[in-house]
């Protein structure tokens, strides 16, 4: 089977990427500030919903039921979209999806498209693929714009430029806007409102004249064929409304059975992702709306492989809210680039190795990019037990021989209490000789932390000597 492409090069293992990231003090500062802000906001609006636990339970069950009947709901969605005047295309992998979209754009005779932020098109590397066909894709979401102008890579699911602070964004705008269209104003400051205004002016004309738009979707309703896109800025509405042709690339796991299910997800998603009671704009359309030409591209790209895994398939419940990223202490210190995938953070650590396989050193290292602290599971609005999936993936990863030897030795000791007791006694006798810095991989502990003092006597020997302290 071909390797699933996830829009990012997978070269170095996570710990090496992370080691570099934690030394970048500007990055650490930006991430701490941003994740701290969003955590507090999410906690506030979640606490405000008296039935949050019930919504979460329903969200999980609806997604689980959908996945278990996915074939039926996909066919139903196709019928509903077609009946409403849309056209449905199926793409097994990234290359096929890109080809379908490129052909659809070429058929319109256009060479420019505007894009609404979408993880699916990031995942398949659509912009790069379109460029090979002479088609330029303009990102319109503010954070995506920052990434595109800065020739950068996304580092967060919801806010791809979270690693950039306002001063850095000002520089990117001042330097690169002119290469893509209307230049930034000469007197641009790093005031966030001024930066947003610069983006508004830069993209305004493009919105008004571009004939083709490409989007993803947050939800696709099988019952009615309705597509749903949540956003904040209005760039989504611009793309979904003004162009003559709209192409939506949507992962097959985005389908929901019924219209009514939105009553759950329109509460779970905004509160979990941006920490708002409701995001500024949500667009819903069914088929060819208001005379538009509408194409839906349903994307597999490794998802059916994940679906086949009993433990791992729960990752397909993900609604891409980013709450797990925002709360993750590892993500907060490394940022998204260390994960080498468009899906960073805890959800990325379980999704990427499942979609891409664990052939590369990076992908094998991702399930270990967690202290298993459980904060991700606690905030997940569809209750994906990320720590359990991580542990399951770890049990399938290939391990290095020194580690295997160490684990085998530890297992051998623990298999008999006599062996453990003998080791403890040896340790007690040699306690004076424990070095302050350990050799080999164990040195990674003593680089920054002292070792505990080895006691003269283990607990079990004390118990035997004193009859449990009674003598």
């Amino acid at each position: 089977m071909s390797v699933t492409f996830l829009g990012m090069p997978a070269d170095r293992p996570f710990p090496r990427n992370a080691a570099r990231a934690v030394r970048d003090s500007q990055l650490r500062f930006n991430l701490r500030k941003a994740t701290g802000t969003i955590r507090a906001r999410r906690a506030g609006v979640v606490a405000e919903a008296p039935d949050w636990a019930e919504l979460r339970e329903a969200g999980k069950a609806i997604k689980e039921h959908t996945l278990r009947n996915l074939d039926r709901y996909l066919v139903q969605l196709e019928e509903a979209v077609t009946a409403a005047g849309g056209r449905v295309h199926w793409a097994a992998g990234a290359a096929e999806a890109n080809r379908i979209v490129a052909d659809l754009v070429k058929a319109t005779g256009e060479t420019e498209v505007v894009k609404v932020k979408s993880m699916a098109t990031q995942e398949i590397g659509l912009n790069e693929a379109l460029l090979e066909h002479g088609i330029t894709a303009y990102e319109t979401d503010l954070a995506e714009l920052i990434v595109q102008l800065g020739d950068d890579r996304p580092s967060h699911i919801l806010v791809p430029a979270i690693h950039r602070n306002r001063a850095e964004i000002r520089e990117v705008f001042a330097e690169h806007m002119s290469g893509w269209g209307r230049p930034a104003p000469d007197d641009l400051t790093d005031d966030p409102a001024a930066l947003a205004e610069a983006a508004r002016l830069h993209l305004r004309e493009r919105f008004l004249k571009t004939k083709v738009a490409i989007s993803g979707a947050n939800f696709a309703i099988a019952e009615t064929g309705t597509m749903v896109v949540l956003e904040s800025e209005g760039n989504g509405r611009m793309c979904l409304t003004l162009p003559r042709t709209l192409i939506s690339v949507v992962g097959i796991e985005k389908v929901l059975p019924s219209w009514r299910d939105l009553e759950v997800f329109l509460q779970l998603l905004p509160r979990s992702s941006t920490g708002e009671r409701m995001n500024p704009y949500t667009s819903m359309w069914t088929g060819a709306a208001e005379g538009q030409e509408f194409h839906l591209v349903l994307l597999d790209n490794g998802r059916t492989g994940v679906l086949a895994d009993e433990v791992g398939r729960q990752a397909l419940r993900c609604i891409r809210c980013s709450a797990c990223l925002n709360v993750c202490p590892v993500y907060e210190r490394t940022g998204g680039h260390a994960y080498g995938s468009v899906y960073p953070g805890p959800i990325g650590a379980i999704l990427t190795p499942q979609l891409r396989g664990m052939g590369s050193e990076l992908d094998r290292s991702l399930p270990y990019a967690s202290s298993l602290c459980g904060a991700c599971y606690e905030v997940c609005p569809v209750a994906i037990d990320i720590p359990s999936v991580l542990v399951d993936l770890r049990s399938r990863a290939r391990h290095s021989w020194p580690e295997r030897a160490g684990m085998a030795a530890a297992g051998w000791v623990f298999e008999r209490q006599g062996r453990l007791a003998a080791l403890q006694r040896a340790g007690g006798r040699l306690r004076r000789f424990v070095p302050r810095r350990l050799p080999g991989p164990l040195g990674r502990w003593t680089d920054t932390r002292d070792l505990p003092e080895v006691p003269r006597e283990s607990f079990r020997d004390w118990w035997d000597r004193t009859d449990g302290g009674r003598r």
Binding site: V330, A410, L420, T448, L451, R460
Partner: protein
């Protein structure tokens, strides 16, 4: 009531004071705990590092050692969570191992659960005249949902001044082999935790898990901060006459 102490391999080998404190504390409260000698390690390190087969072997050993007791007391949030959460998954739905797990799991208590829920005690008669801050540890907090139990117990300790730890709910970065496999991130998390601890002005950092304390204490020690780390059991065991240890 037959009570077993599952002391954990870390406490048994490196922190026997904690085990002794649990035994003495329970004795003071009228409970004679037994120490089943066949116990070694719950298997958490193997399970969480991806060595499932070894973890299953150790889990089988663990439940066999703890068989026949009415209650199993574990002075470690993460080892208690290992037994309660991971053993059922390792055992699967059916078979003798699953049956043994099903008997042990509902009888397994983290120390503060045993004190508060089973014995119904919140004031254990301890005396500890020091400024203390408490780190809740991830598996105690989000795995076992210990909630306010440890704090309730600490508040009842005579002479003890409890100061809140900012960002208490955030992981210290230990995570077992995570501390070695992702040493840089682990150390960065630990440095932030150590800074928060120092900011409280506490003399003692307390938790219900010695593995996290070994990690934070290791950094506090390297920094020569003067802050001591102590397992909750050792504080609860301290009295006016007996002193700390």
């Amino acid at each position: 009531m037959r009570v077993a102490l599952f002391v954990t391999c870390v406490n048994d080998t490196l922190f026997p004071d904690t085990g002794r404190a649990v035994v003495r504390l329970l004795r003071r409260l009228g409970v004679e705990a037994d120490f089943p000698h066949a116990q070694t390690c719950c298997g958490q390190m193997h399970a969480n590092t991806g060595y499932r087969d070894e973890a299953v072997r150790l889990a089988k050993r663990g439940v066999a050692a703890l068989r026949g007791y009415d209650a199993v007391v574990v002075p470690s949030g993460s080892c208690a969570a290992m037994i309660r959460e991971q053993y059922p998954r390792l055992a699967g739905p059916r078979g003798p191992f699953a049956d043994a797990v099903a008997r042990v799991v509902p009888r397994t208590y983290e120390l503060t659960e045993f004190l508060v829920d089973v014995l119904g005690v919140t004031d254990v008669g301890a005396y500890f005249p020091h400024r203390v801050t408490y780190h809740p540890t991830c598996h105690s907090l989000r795995g076992l949902h210990l909630g306010d139990r440890p704090l309730t117990l600490l508040r009842a300790v005579k002479g003890l001044e409890l100061v809140p730890l900012p960002g208490a709910e955030e992981c210290c970065g230990f995570g077992g082999t995570f501390a070695l496999k992702n040493a840089d991130v682990s150390a960065a998390m630990c440095a932030d935790k150590a800074r928060a601890v120092l900011g409280t002005g506490a003399e003692v950092l307390c938790a219900a898990d010695n593995s996290c304390l070994m990690h934070i204490g290791g950094m506090l020690g390297r920094q020569k901060s003067g802050v001591r780390v102590m397992h909750l059991a050792e504080i609860l065991c301290a009295t006016e006459t007996a002193g700390v240890r």
